[in-house]
Amino acid sequence: MHPQTLRILALAVALLATVLFFSTQIDGYLSARMFTRITTSAAVILPLAVAQAIVVITRNIDLSVGSIVGVVAYMTGDILGQFPDLPPVLVCVMAMGIGAGLGAINGVLVAWGRVPSIIVTLGTLALLRSFLVEYSDARTITTASLPAWLVDLPQANAFSVFGLDVRVTVVLALASAVVMGLCLSRLRAARRVFAVGSNPDAAVMAGINAGQVVFWSFVLSGALAGLSGFLFLAKFGNITVVAGMGMELKSVAAVVVGGVSVLGGSGSMVGVVIGTLLVDTIDNSLTRWELVSEFWRDALLGFLIMAAVTVDTVMSRQLGRLARKET
C-alpha cells in the first residue's frame, strides 16, 4: 500500500478511537449537539490548517495566522458596523482580501528579503497583535453592531444527514479544503509548490522561480486565514483584541498530525482535514472531561505536535533503511 494512504487510514482509525474513548467518558457524547459543536469549532480552524499546510509544503511556516485571524475578524466587524448593508459574499471576499494583503507582507520578507519564515512570521504575529490593540483602541466588536445575517450564520443549516446538522460555516470551510485539495493535485503550478519544498536547490536549477512560489503561498495562506477570520467573527460575534490568539498552535498541530512533512515537499488535504478534526475533537472533548483540567489543552496540543513529528521522523528513517536494503 502507498505510505500516504496508510497514513490517512491510520489517522481515520485514530479519530474513531478518540471519539469512542470520549463516548465512554462523557455523558451524552455521541449526540447531534456534540457533532454540531465539534464541526462548527473545527470549521474555524480548517481554513487555517489548509493555509498552514500550503506554507509548510514549501518548507516554511506561518506563525502569524492567529494574529491575521484576529485583525481580519476585528476589521471586518468594524467595517460592517459602519456599512451594515454590504452583501455577504463581498464581506467574505473582503475578509480574504485583507488576509491576503497581510500574507503578502510575510511573503515579500521571506521570498525576497531571504529572512527565515519562522522569524518573519514570529515578528508579524507580535506586530499585528499590537496593531490590533492600537487600531481597536481597546474597544470590542459586539453582536449588536453586526448585521443579522452574520449573527445567524453559525446557526444556519446547509443540510442534515442521519439527523446530524451540517452548518453552512462547515460547508464553507470544507469547500476551502476541497478546492485547495483539487488545486494541489490538479494544477501544474502546484507541482512547483511541492518541488520548492522538496528540494529548493533543484527547484532553482530546474528553472522554477522559487521566490515567486513562496510569495504566493504566503498570500494564499493570508487569504485563507482571512476566511478563518470571517468564520471566527460569525461564530463568536464578540471580538476583542485577543481574538484568534494561539490559533497558530492549533493550525500547526492539525497540519503535522495530518501528515504534512515539516521538512516540506509532501502532504495532502485529506490528511489535513482529518488532522484538524482529530485535533479539534480532542480539544473540545477535553473541556468536558472531568478527569483532566482544561488548562492541559495546550499541553496536549504540544504533545500531539511532538508525537506526530517524532513518529514521522522515525518512520521515514525506517522506510529509508528498507529502501536501501532493497537496492
Partner: protein, 499 residues
Amino acid sequence: MTVLSLQHVSKSFAATAALKDMSLAIEPGEIHAIVGENGAGKSTLIKIMTGVHQPDRGDILVGGAPVVLRGTQDAQSHGIAAIYQEPMVFPDLDVAENIFISNRNEGAVMNWRRMYAQADQIVAQLGVKLDVRRAASGLTLAEQQTVEIARALSLNVKVLIMDEPTASLSAHEVARLLTIARALKAQGVSVIYISHRLDEIFQIADRVTVIRDGSHISTRPIAEVTPDGLVHDMVGRAIDSFAVKTEASPHGAPVLELQGLGRAGVFRGIHATVHAGEVLCFAGLVGARRTDVALAVFGIAPATEGTIRIDGAPVTIRTPAEAMGHQIAYVSEDRRKMGLAMSLPIFANISLASLRKLMGLLGLIDRKAELAMAETYRKQLAIKAADTGVEVGKLSGGNQQKVMLAKWLETKPRILIFDEPTRGIDVGAKAEVHNIIRTLAGQGVAVIVISSDLPEVLALADRVLVMREGTQAGILPIAEATQERVIGLAAGHDIKGAA
C-alpha cells in the same frame, strides 16, 4: 552550422580571471569532451553556458544568433541544459513529475495519464527501464541522473552539458550512461561531456577540447589525439613561481605507515609510509578522495579496513581525540567550518587544542601563559596583527592559515597533515607557508600535504602519492614526478618516461 558557440568569452571574479578569450563551437549531434586540470575554468564555462554567470566580454551564439542567457530557465528555453555529478531531483515527487517539472508549455491543469505516458516514452527513448510512477526518493544516483537527462529531453534541448557525470557511478552504471549519451547523439542532441576520465573520453567523444588556466588550448577530433598528447596539453604550463624539488631530503625512521587503508564506499588500498622529516604529498583531481584519507587518519571518519602503524606499532584511531593522543595534527582545508572560531581572538584560537596545558589552580585558564604562548607564535610565524587580541575573522586568509597552524603546532605534533594549505591565499603568504612546512620537516616532523596545486606539490614533496577515484594510482619519488606523470596517473593514464 554550429548549435552553440562561444566567441572570445572572458569572465573574471574580483581580480581572478576565470576565463580568458574563450572560443568554442559545438556541432549538432556531436559528443564534445572538455578536459582540463583542477581550476582550469571548466565550472565557469558551464555556468556561462547555462546562464548562471554572464560573460564580461564576448558573445554566446545559439544557432548562429547572439543571445543573452539570464539564468537556467533562459538557457533551457534556448535549448541548453546541464546535469551535474550530484543530481538535482525532487525526492517527494514521482519520476514523471520530476521529468516534467520544468515544462512550461503544458496547460494549467495536470493531465496525469498523459504525463505518465509521455514520461514512459522519454525513458524508453533513453533505452532504460524505470517505473515513472515511483517516488524519486529511493532512486540510485545513476537513476536520478537518468531522470535529469529525461527532464532535459522533455524540454527538447539541443545541447546537454554533462559535468563529471560518472564520478560517483559504478562501472556498470558508467556503461549505461555512455549508452544514454550515444542515444542522445543519435537523436541529434549535442552532448558536452566534461570528465577527468580519459578512457571514457576516448570511448565516447567525437571531438575533445582542452582548456588550461581559463584559456582554450586545443580542439581536435578524437582520432587525431593520443592520451599522452591530451595530458601534455592539460599541464603544459611553465612552472615559474616555485622551484621544483629534484631530490628528496634526508629523512629518519618511519613514523606513520598506512597499510591497505580504506573506508567502505569511500576509498581503499592506500599504502604509504611517512618518515620523520619527510614530506609526502597527496595529489589527484578533485573528487579523488584525498581528504577522506586524512579524515580517516585523524579519526573524523575512521578507516574501516587496513592498518595504521605509528612507530611500527599498529594503532586504532576512532576519534580526533585519539589521533591527537598519537600526536597527529590535521590542518583542515575548510578554515571556516573545521578550523577556526572566526569570532574569537587569535590567542583563544591558538590555545584551543592545548587548553589542558594552560590549566592552573581550580582548572582555570592561566590567561598570562595563554597570551605569552600566542605571542610566541605571532612572532615566529609572522602573523600580521597588532596583537593576539584581534578577532581571527578580521585577518587575511594567509594569516588565518598561520593561526590555525599555530594551534596545531602547540600540540607538538609528530605527524602533521595539511589539507590544501595555500588555497585562497596570496602568493607571498603562500611562500611563507611553504617555508614553514619545510622548516617543520627539517625539525623531524612527518608531514603529509594534500594539494590540488601541482606546482606546490612538486615544490614541497619528497614523494608524491597520486590518488584516483578513491584508490592509489601510484606513488612517485620526487625525482620521477613530473607534471605529466602526476596528471596522467590522476586521470587514469600512466605516461612512463615522458618528458
